[in-house]
């Protein structure tokens, strides 16, 4: 059971629940003190040590149910079993069970009778595989399946598309083809034993399929997802299919959480606050109670400010969405974000983010400000709205392709922002090669930025936000 628990922890890990070895030990201790008899009690107990948030608990419960389902279904004849279970309950069951046992016996004898005429079937019945099926010996069968799966290297299963292939290979290794051949032969002979043998064949197939399914769950399901995350984070953001959008959002949350925890330590500055009397006294004690030095409480540095200016016209809207999602997901550690959206004109949209959940707010912003781009006009609006608030503590992030439809770029406004602010960052979803081509004003705008970068997939976005967090501390 202990190794089973370790396997279970493995499954949890592939489902993104981080379980440390120490927690695994705790889980074993929990299982020992609660016992294995009460399933729901054990589930609650394990959930307390292994899952650390309500979300993780939901994943945990799902995994628990999948993992600890009945190991192998009892595949004795169903009728016979039902009858046998009834036996102690009703007084008339004698007949019933008699009947069922008869039926089971009849089936066996049908097989045996057929075997007498057919040497091949005879030989088949003697094989270990068939024996364990007929005798309903589940341990034997599980053992055989484990051996077979080791033989074909089931541990290497990576993708769900391999499931069928592995099932086939394990069946072959178990020697299922003999049963298959026998079935064909019986079919031709139109023997009464056909149905019986077919049933055994189906049971075997089902068992192996379940076995592979379970192994896949342990080995690969998580890997497939990690693989997908990896791919998603490298895909150009506007190429991501609509169906994957929610996955990207989850991914952004994950990245944001990682960044947030990396940058979560609070900043301290040696700025004088109130006199720390206790400390001053304490440090004075060695000097006979004379307070040579004074000690002051530290005051936290004022949070710097971030202004995010996003182009939400058709060509860049997708990127703006992800940038905003990212910025608002790291809100905990990031200084206060004010966001502005523009295409032909510009407006502040921070209010939407206060009133609605981030996804909803982004939809609203796109809807309200989408249209043809005019950078010059938008910069003018921005200057009117926010220029007064820009000081040496302000970081301005501009996201846009700088394609101005041949209008006046109003570079001088960006230059004055450049001079007043701490830093101006321009993120451009276009690749660096096409900057400055056609109606792109990027090269010109670039001259008035502290930092400009290509930003079209999540990996790049993550790196930029990471830098941003470092630089604003």
């Amino acid at each position: 059971m202990q190794s089973n628990l370790v396997n279970f922890v493995q499954v949890l890990r592939t489902h993104d629940i981080r379980v440390s070895p120490a927690e695994t030990l705790d889980a074993v201790a929990v299982a020992t003190s609660l016992g294995y008899s009460d399933r729901s009690l054990l589930r609650d107990g394990l959930a307390m040590t292994l899952a650390k948030t309500p979300e993780e608990e939901a994943i945990f419960l799902q995994c628990f149910d999948q993992f600890f389902q009945q190991d192998l279904a009892d595949f004795a004849d169903v009728d016979a079993q039902d009858a046998l279970e009834e036996e102690p309950a009703s007084s008339e069951s004698d007949n019933g069970s008699q009947h069922a046992t008869d039926a089971a016996l009849a089936q066996h004898s049908a097989l045996e009778q057929a075997a007498e005429d057919n040497p091949m079937l005879e030989a088949l019945l003697q094989t270990a595989l068939m024996q364990s099926l007929v005798d309903n010996d589940r341990n034997e069968l599980t053992l055989a399946m484990n051996q077979a799966s080791e033989q074909v290297g089931l541990q290497q299963i990576q993708m769900f598309t391999q499931k069928g292939q592995f099932t086939r290979r394990i069946l072959d290794a178990l020697g299922e083809e003999h049963i298959r051949n026998a079935v064909i032969e019986l079919e031709q002979a139109d023997s009464p034993a056909l149905a019986v043998l077919q049933r055994y064949r189906d049971i075997l197939r089902e068992q192996v399929r379940d076995h592979v399914e379970r192994e896949y769950l342990i080995q690969a399901e998580g890997k497939t997802r990690q693989f997908m995350d990896e791919i998603l984070s490298k895909t150009r953001l506007n190429n991501i299919e609509h169906v994957y959008l929610h996955k990207v959002q989850a991914l952004i949350r994950k990245m944001a959480k990682k960044l947030a925890s990396r940058h979560s330590r609070k900043r301290k500055l040696l700025k004088r606050g109130r006199l720390d009397m206790a400390k001053t006294l304490r440090k004075g004690i060695p000097h006979d109670g004379i307070m040579f030095n004074t000690y002051w409480r530290q005051v936290r540095k004022e949070k710097p400010q971030i202004l995010a200016v996003c182009d939400v016209s058709g060509s860049v809207a997708a990127y703006a969405k992800f940038l905003l999602l990212f910025l608002y997901s790291v809100q905990d550690v990031l200084p206060k974000v004010r966001s502005f959206a523009f295409s032909s004109h510009l407006g502040e949209v921070s209010g939407y983010f206060d009133d609605y959940p981030v996804e909803k707010a982004i939809e609203l912003v796109n809807w309200k400000y989408g249209g043809a781009t005019d950078y010059g006009n938008s910069l003018l609006d921005f200057a009117k709205l926010a220029m007064d608030d820009i000081n040496s503590n302000t970081t301005v992030i501009i996201l846009g392709d700088a394609r101005n439809n041949n209008g006046d770029p109003k570079l001088e406004i960006l230059q004055s922002i450049y001079q007043r602010s701490r830093q101006v960052i321009w993120l451009n979803p276009e690749s660096r090669r096409s900057w400055g081509s056609g109606d792109s004003e990027m090269l010109r705008y670039q001259s008035a930025c502290h930092f400009s970068a290509e930003c079209n997939n999540l990996k790049q976005l993550e790196r930029i936000i990471d830098q941003l967090l470092k630089s604003t501390r």
Binding site: S40, M48, P54
Partner: protein, 317 residues
């Protein structure tokens, strides 16, 4: 460091019954958490919306085990001087004065600096010793002879630095004081930490705790809670009011009413001699349940439906 054995905590069922006798009706999960906390000597991190009985859990456990409850309320800026220990500066200053006066007697007849220093060393250094140590809640919990329940309330309100401070206590039940050394707990205390999830608790802290999430209770459980806390309310009204509160929780409110508010409301209705809910009654007592004017307005619109629903569901059962 030794541990006590409590027959009250022998099994999950014992705990459930014990809690019930003190009027704390809990789900199986909560009892399991307490059982495991005791068996594995691990702290419990209790999370959940405000008012579901997180703090009450620790209080009831203290009652059940008849041990002192030591409570540390966390807030921003809480530091070790308020949570762990502090030196008694005044007394330390006095001590130096006394020492100064005795110095003459002590050094009488000593020749040379080396001998004087040697004599001083013999005198024993009690300047930094337990005599001058002022224990704060965490240290106090370690010093209890008969064990204690340590409640670290709303740990999410404290700073990140404070969390690291807790790690040593939570995993090894000891405190390191640089001037003295390591103080081990005389008896392992049972530790409860509560959090309202205003921020993420660090993984290091979570790893050391059992994680218990208390959600709002089911209708049945809440009815049992009301029956035990406000026994005089009759069955029909109790059912109706619990149903009403449950449907309130489905609404989009700033602050949803918690169990404690349901209990308060049941008490108020009892005082008003109500035997069933009607619109006027609910409207005039709604401020017991809801704490924001906006929420009261939202509810007002839905009032008739809510009352009708809670009444029909009551009859259906």
């Amino acid at each position: 460091m030794h541990t006590l054995d409590f027959p009250q905590l022998a099994s999950v069922e014992h705990i459930e019954q014990g809690f019930e006798s003190y009027g704390y009706i809990c789900s199986r999960k909560i009892a399991t958490a307490v059982f495991l906390a005791f068996q594995l000597r691990k702290p419990v991190l209790v999370e959940g919306p405000p008012g579901v009985g997180k703090t009450e859990l620790a209080k009831t456990t203290a009652l059940l085990l008849d041990t002192p409850l030591i409570r540390l309320q966390c807030y921003e800026g809480l530091d070790e001087a308020k949570a762990l220990y502090e030196w008694k500066y005044g007394k330390q200053l006095l001590y130096t004065q006394v020492l100064k006066e005795k110095l003459g007697d002590l050094l009488q007849g000593a020749t040379g600096l080396a001998e004087s220093v040697a004599r001083l060393h013999q005198f024993g250094d009690i300047f930094y010793s337990e005599e001058f140590l002022e224990p704060r809640p965490l240290l106090k919990a370690m010093q209890q002879e008969k064990g204690a329940i340590l409640l670290i309330d709303e740990v999410d309100k404290s700073d990140y630095e404070f969390e690291s401070l807790l790690l040593e206590i939570l995993s090894d039940y000891q405190i390191s004081i640089p001037e003295i050394g390591t103080v081990k707990a005389r008896t392992t205390p049972m530790v409860f930490l509560t959090s309202n999830n205003t921020r993420e608790i660090s993984d290091a802290l979570k790893r050391r705790c059992l994680h218990l999430y208390i959600p709002f209770p089911t209708v049945e459980l809440e009815e049992r809670i009301i029956r035990s806390r406000v026994p005089d309310v009759d069955d029909q009204l109790r059912h109706q009011l619990v149903e009403f509160v449950h449907s309130l929780r489905q609404l989009d409110l700033k602050k949803v009413p918690a169990i404690s508010e349901t209990i308060d409301w049941a008490r108020s209705l009892l005082l008003l001699h109500a035997d069933k809910l009607d619109e006027d009654l609910v409207r005039s007592t709604l401020n017991v349940l809801l704490k924001y004017e906006d929420d009261i307005d939202t509810t007002d619109v839905e009032m008739r439906n809510l009352i009708r629903d809670s009444a029909t569901e009551g009859r259906a059962r």
